[in-house]
Amino acid sequence: MIAGLALAVGVIVGLVLRPTVPHWLEPYLPIAVVAALDAVFGGIRARLDGIFDSKVFVVSFVSNVVVAALIVFLGDKLGVGGQLSTAVVVVLGIRIFGNAAAIRRHVFRA
């Protein structure tokens, strides 16, 4: 309940403020988005499994973003940033799909 409300408030704040993303942050935006989606689906699945924990949720989201950005930053410096960015998106994307499947099983029992 409060989670959905906070999510909506976050979206509205973002849409109202329309902050400009600094140029150096742009490459990390897609990764942040995928990490955010991963955190959301992971959190929903844990809630349905009955093992949701707020600390794990926040820490996993923040650390996912930071670690993914760090990997891509390093890759950019070493000349493989594009490939590493793809790797991060693929791995997190697989997790999102897996979690979505688990949620589906919970909700529809199918």
Partner: protein, 283 residues
């Protein structure tokens, strides 16, 4: 040895696909037991986390939908301005030529059959201010067909190598110079008439004749004694150089003797600083 390594790497992939849940949740649940009491920060932390997630998604949405249309808008705007400028330049050019014909007609009426009128016409022809017709030579020079480039997998912001052209302003210029040398009296390049003040330059990817951009293939038409033009041009260093280039690099190079060529007129620039000098005695 190899089989073991294979198993371990496939294990990693299988684990990645099947074990998608964050192990952190299970570990914490196991540590805290099934009926752990609510902590004070549970609800605020969840709220802050969700707020961050929503904010991130909204920023990404806004950023994507603001950046792309803005860039497209700027691009379209520039294209529209260029097109407007081009069409207005064309209209002005057409008007200038129309007025020029009117002037010529009026002048011909004012100076019927005098030697002054004939001399004026001759000067205008040499200056490229009137269309010219006559026998001559047509030289065609074209870039070799580009090999279809493979899709470029480079990162954004890099320009692919290979988008370069073989022929530049220098090639057009050398052909034109050779034709002047061979006795051409009027020359046009891709239907742009050359005048005594014409410049053939290179800017970006296009050859500029005066200020009109032209692209390959280049058709250079010269009016003159066509027999002399053909023989002299065939004999020249320029022709042999482009024959070599044609066989080595695949440049299109050919010329034909034409019985009748039509060269367009151009609007002659009015000299602003040059004045006829005082002639002392007969030359």
């Amino acid at each position: 040895m190899t089989s073991r390594r294979n198993t371990s790497s496939t294990d990693l992939l299988v684990d990645l696909v099947t074990n998608t849940a964050d192990p952190g949740y299970a570990a914490t649940a196991a540590r805290r037991g099934p009926d752990a009491p609510r902590r004070w920060f549970d609800r605020p932390a969840t709220a802050v986390g969700c707020l961050l997630v929503g904010f991130t998604l909204a920023i990404a949405y806004v950023h994507t939908h603001r950046g792309a249309p803005a860039a497209a808008k700027v691009h379209n705007d520039l294209v529209r301005r260029v097109e407007a400028a081009q069409s207005s330049a064309n209209a002005l050019e057409a008007r200038a030529q129309q007025l020029g014909t009117k002037i010529t007609r009026a002048r011909d009426q004012a100076l019927p059959g005098t030697s002054l009128g004939a001399q004026l016409q001759r000067n205008e022809l040499l200056a490229g201010a009137t269309p010219a017709a006559g026998p001559g030579l047509q030289v065609k020079l074209g870039d070799p067909p580009q090999p279809t480039s493979t899709p470029d997998n480079g990162r954004r912001g890099t320009t692919p190598i290979g988008g370069t052209q073989l022929l530049t302003d220098r090639d057009v210029r050398s052909v034109v110079n050779e034709l002047w040398h061979d006795g051409a009296e009027a020359i046009s390049v891709n239907d742009v008439r050359l005048t005594p003040t014409s410049a053939i330059r290179f800017a970006g990817q296009a050859v500029l004749v005066d200020f009109a951009p032209i692209t390959s293939p280049y058709t250079i038409e010269a009016i003159g004694d066509s027999d002399v033009l053909v023989t002299s041009f065939a004999d020249s260093d320029v022709a042999s150089r482009y024959h070599t280039l044609a066989s080595a690099e695949g440049v299109n190079f050919s010329w034909t003797q034409e019985g009748k060529l039509h060269l367009p007129a151009t609007t002659a620039a009015t000299p602003r600083y040059a004045r006829p000098a005082e002639t002392k005695g007969p030359r």
